[in-house]
């Protein structure tokens, strides 16, 4: 009859195996011999741990042979006399010294063999812990500790440290560098979008470099419960687009009548254009991802002597009609255009629109699991004010109109900051007025 009771991988490993057996020649009368092994303290490289061995019944000596062995992987332990086998007459404590640290949990065994038996009466699985841990960083399944890795902006970087489960960890922390250079992801739904945080605690972290650069060091710090610390590093050379420029051309604001009795305030065709150019490392694909955020869009309507201030409906409702413009992405072609036009109804006497937007340029490598990375943005405005001249023909007069980049001298701002929105401006027919 065999009963196994095990408790593996606690801080102090407790493993007990009970074996009861009957003597071969006096089966009916022989007392039941039970051996229990209990690990009292850890075994580490160069240090001694203790195991309590209990032999029952205790009426007379029942000599057993204790043996130390490594079953899988690396690891070596010996008794106090440097041997791997010893005889124990009765219950007592044995001391085991670690020689070589084990790389797999429970790789070493301490077995108890009663005399003239073919199987051990008890087995304790244990580990020899290294004197100080030496963490290794893995990236895509490869050990990259202490190496330089060439990667691309937007590429998913998942780093993992695998520790022996018995290592008494207090804290694991990743330091990645300047927060503006990386992100934990980029969420983009119609109603919310923006960069995501990075999980820096624990054995695994993942992130995406948002900006190119050389010699970016990522370090991993391990702190054990006994205060011992260890560290590992990997360095990244991050490639991606550089020297980005966006040329902005805008037409003047004007009134037009595309159809009889239909008036329109907007920029002359084709409106405002954004033409991007950048340099790319060899082999990378040229891509243009435009994302536009409305910062404010206020329409003032004067009707029957009453002035109303209106904003296009946004979901959820946002101040001054701010949010993502229509759809993500705004466009994927270069150049892209816009023209914030207003259809002028003849039942209104005065109309004006003041519009502020930010057009982001992003790039994607197209690699599997990669995300878009920002290259910069253009802030631009449109404003126009018109007065009704003839209600019958829906003719209007332009009092004021202007449009174009907020900074005409240097319209494009290079930036690795992601667009951020928590509302959508779908530009339905609904205006919210007060």
């Amino acid at each position: 009859m065999r009963l196994f009771l095990t408790a593996l991988h606690c801080n102090i490993i407790l493993v007990a195996v009970f074996v009861a057996f009957l003597g071969s020649s006096h089966a009916a009368q022989a007392p039941l011999l039970t051996v229990t092994i209990h690990q009292v303290s850890e075994v580490s490289q160069g240090n001694t741990g203790e195991f309590a061995v209990t032999i029952a019944p205790k009426d007379k000596p029942h000599p057993i042979t204790l043996r130390l062995k490594c079953d899988v992987g690396t690891g070596k332990a010996v008794f106090e006399d440097d041997s791997t086998a010893m005889v124990l007459e009765k219950s007592g404590t044995v001391r085991v010294r670690g020689v070589v640290s084990s790389d797999l949990p429970g790789a070493l065994t301490l077995t108890a063999w009663p005399q003239e038996t073919q199987a051990p009466a008890a087995t304790a699985f244990f580990d020899v812990f290294p004197r100080t841990p030496e963490p290794r960083i893995f990236f895509d399944g490869l050990d990259v500790t202490g190496t330089h890795q060439a990667v691309t902006v937007g590429q998913r970087i998942q780093l993992t440290v695998i520790l022996h489960p018995g290592v008494p960890v207090q804290n694991q922390h990743w330091s990645i560098g300047d927060p503006g250079d990386y992100t934990g992801g980029f969420l983009h739904t119609p109603f919310a979008g923006g960069p995501q945080p990075v999980v820096r605690e624990g054995p695994t972290t993942w992130f995406y470099w948002a900006a190119p650069g050389k010699n970016r060091t990522v370090s991993y710090q391990l702190t054990l419960t006994n205060g011992v610390t260890a560290q590992a590093e990997v360095t990244f050379d991050v490639d991606g687009p550089w020297s980005t420029q966006v040329q902005v051309d805008s037409e003047r604001v004007a009134l037009s009548q595309p159809l009889p009795n239909s008036s329109l305030l907007g920029m002359l065709d084709p409106g405002i254009s954004f033409r991007a150019r950048y340099s790319l490392p060899e082999g990378m694909l040229r891509k243009f991802i435009w994302v536009q955020e409305i910062q404010s869009d206020v329409v003032t309507v004067k009707r029957n002597g009453i002035t109303l201030y209106c904003v296009p409906k946004s979901q959820p409702v946002a101040t001054l009609g701010a949010g993502l413009d229509t759809v993500y992405p705004y466009d994927t072609h270069n150049p892209t255009l816009d023209n914030p036009r207003i259809h002028l109804p003849s039942d209104v006497t005065e109309y004006s629109r003041v519009f502020h937007a930010r057009m982001y340029l992003l790039w994607s490598s197209g690699l599997t699991n990669s995300i878009e990375v920002p290259l910069g943005f253009v802030d631009w405005t449109f404003s126009g004010e018109v007065v009704l001249k003839n209600a019958e023909t829906n003719e209007w007069v332009l009092k004021f109109g202007s449009g174009g980049p907020s900074n005409p001298v240097a319209p494009f701002t290079r930036s690795h900051a992601y667009p951020f929105w928590n509302s959508l401006v779908p530009y339905t027919q609904i205006l919210t007025c007060n």
Partner: protein, 160 residues
């Protein structure tokens, strides 16, 4: 005439004939092709890719404004029932009444040229998961008001 020149001219005629035949097959000067992202779709904010190609022999100028406004869609479940519009989708049905316009991108397609567009179908239609839906898009041909061109039909297999 040298033989290789004759072959080139012949090829040019052949290409022209192929283009005309294709336009004849689809029957429309503007061809719409929808591409679903994957066979089984898990994402919650699904966007379809739409390719618009000029199959005519003349340039076509079109405006990309709000995809929910630019395209009409037929979205049906496995029982052939029409899937209802979302609030945003319903509001975009009356595009002509818009006072203010948002996105406005004018594109000129020369014969044979294409342009890509995105159609955020979950924004415009309430598509419960799991479910299979047949989707077809339509768009007015710019030079021929009120005449619609239809896309291919795709089946979306949405899972939770």
């Amino acid at each position: 005439m040298k033989p290789d020149r004759a072959v080139r001219i012949g090829l040019l005629f052949l290409l022209g004939a192929v283009q005309l035949t294709w336009a004849g097959l689809t029957g429309e000067p503007l061809d719409l092709t929808i591409t679903p992202p994957e066979a089984v779709i898990r994402e919650s904010n699904l966007t379809l890719s739409v390719t618009m190609t000029n199959r005519s022999t003349l340039p076509i100028t079109l405006v990309k404004s709000n995809p929910g406004c630019d395209f009409a869609a037929e979205v049906r479940d496995v029982n052939g029932r029409s899937v209802p519009l979302t609030e945003t989708g319903a509001e975009l049905c009356q595009c002509k009444e818009h006072a203010t316009e948002g996105r406005w991108i004018r594109v000129t397609l020369n014969p044979g040229e294409s342009t890509e567009e995105t159609y955020p179908i979950d924004l415009y239609y309430g598509l419960p998961r799991p479910g299979r839906y047949a989707v077809q898009l339509m768009r007015e041909i710019p030079s021929q008001p009120r005449r619609m061109t239809r896309s291919n039909e795709v089946i979306l297999n949405l899972v939770e």
